[in-house]
Symmetry: C5
Amino acid sequence: MKIGLADTTFSRFDYAPVVLKVLSQSKPKVDVQRYTVPGIKDLPVACKRLFEAKCDMVIACGMVGKMPIDKQCAHEASLGLQAVQLSEGKHILEVFVHMDEAKNEKELASICENRARKHAQNALMLLFDQKQMQRRAGTGRRQGKDDEGPIKT
Amino acid sequence: MKIGLADTTFSRFDYAPVVLKVLSQSKPKVDVQRYTVPGIKDLPVACKRLFEAKCDMVIACGMVGKMPIDKQCAHEASLGLQAVQLSEGKHILEVFVHMDEAKNEKELASICENRARKHAQNALMLLFDQKQMQRRAGTGRRQGKDDEGPIKT
Amino acid sequence: MKIGLADTTFSRFDYAPVVLKVLSQSKPKVDVQRYTVPGIKDLPVACKRLFEAKCDMVIACGMVGKMPIDKQCAHEASLGLQAVQLSEGKHILEVFVHMDEAKNEKELASICENRARKHAQNALMLLFDQKQMQRRAGTGRRQGKDDEGPIKT
Amino acid sequence: MKIGLADTTFSRFDYAPVVLKVLSQSKPKVDVQRYTVPGIKDLPVACKRLFEAKCDMVIACGMVGKMPIDKQCAHEASLGLQAVQLSEGKHILEVFVHMDEAKNEKELASICENRARKHAQNALMLLFDQKQMQRRAGTGRRQGKDDEGPIKT
Amino acid sequence: MKIGLADTTFSRFDYAPVVLKVLSQSKPKVDVQRYTVPGIKDLPVACKRLFEAKCDMVIACGMVGKMPIDKQCAHEASLGLQAVQLSEGKHILEVFVHMDEAKNEKELASICENRARKHAQNALMLLFDQKQMQRRAGTGRRQGKDDEGPIKT
């Protein structure tokens, strides 16, 4: 199995070491191919090219600015990522962090690290362990912060 | 006939038991195949794969957070689900519950259960009883809460 | 010629009798095929299936709730209807009424009846009388309420 | 060369005479084919059919109401027009006027006339004179009102 | 290698000299082909045609007005550019400047120049030096203003 890693020079956090560490611990082993682009709107083509290079899944990492135009760019990027996924029939796990999710730079880094790590774990679970994924259905899992857990009634 | 059930680990409600109970009571019998993903934006690929596995219809269950970004994610997921439906020519019934639809956790669970149950019934009616579906046209049916009924003039 | 009629169980107004009455008076005669679904987001697949059943045009009737999420659903449904139209190269006339267009139930029913009737007439004019349609270009025609007429200068 | 003209019965301004006058003065001569539909959301199929009838370009004229739902319709129509353009690899020049662009009916008519005339001129320039188009790059041209001109620094 | 340059007559800044200067200094040499259109919504077809003319990448330059409708047009243009990129599997670097990004005309020109220059450099790096691009991942690069740099923790 081969997993693609697409990221950007716009991002203020370097997701690659976090993702690569999780993927390196995978059993069975996975190959990794990387593709860096300027910004999130360039990620869909990067992902398409990674699928053309035989990746079975891609983790797409990006950071989103605080202005309304940045939100619109993220929306356009996400729609592009949907289109690529559907033309390939393969998953792209989107690790996007919005700069206004955090109160300061330390918290921003923490969210980035947490979201990247957990989605790298999700990538492996989707590829190798659908049973475990199903056991987690409806359990309120979160990436970037603590899990919320299932509804308490 | 075979019905797909796609759901998420993000959701705080486990829709599967509700949907599976309704489908198990179907006459004629239906097969069910399940696919769990991290979040709602991963559902379109899950549905596409369920159709590739010969499902005739898919019920896609997810929960949507309270923030504006969550609404945007739901919009992107829904557009992806539209694209899959149109490429396949088959229905995906969307069981999405927004966390801000309810005042508390108990009401949230109630909406989830009601919407999942009624859409599982809709799935069977769409597959097996278009006559009954047509008799209900314009009657103000709701999923997640009580029916509104037809306009009173 | 054959016209499809797609409608929903969500709608509180039953558009079918209004549309069917207009179509029954068509010269030349048209065949009609109907397909009912739960809500407006299920209409695109319904229309696609009606085109697969050899319809030359479809009239898609739905009602839209008052909440922001309802507006978003209508947007997603309309984009799906655009996609179906373009893949088929055939028109779908959208008879959508928003519940907040009216002050009360009586006015709501009136808008529904007017919009359905005039769009059924438009369907026949598009199929059989492009000359008449062109004579009406720029004349401020409205469906659901009175015509506004051309700009007075 | 052949240019399509698509317009609507919803519009309160009749764009056709303005467009046809400009196109009639073209050297070399161009053929024109027209297609009228009820509203702007019906324009994408009209344009697709005009391209199927061998048009090399289409001018799509419409008017947009003042309500939020009207803006959403215009957005859906524009996305449909994008899809048609890209499937054909040919331009559709969009002559859309929003009713809230003008303070009164006289100004509204003036904007409509100006935008239609200038875009008909643009259509001919795109077809026959890319050199002239390039000389105008970055010069702040406007349709519907006076040119803004290049940035003064 | 061949790079396309698409721009508009709507823009108040002439991006072409800035882009062409950077591209002329490329080693290895690149060919350039240009295509000018009226506005940003005409750029997707321009880019598609440039790819049909064997361009390996396109730089699409445009300016966006200050009104809400202008933002909507930019969104539609960007979605069209996404669609072209994905159908071709090739990058379009979007050099869009919004008129409300700047306080005055001098600052507006500065943003335009900076964004065009840096994206022309990005184009060459994407084509010829993915290693350098990867070294810049997560370093907070910006086009149109100064780099923000990586998160300081």
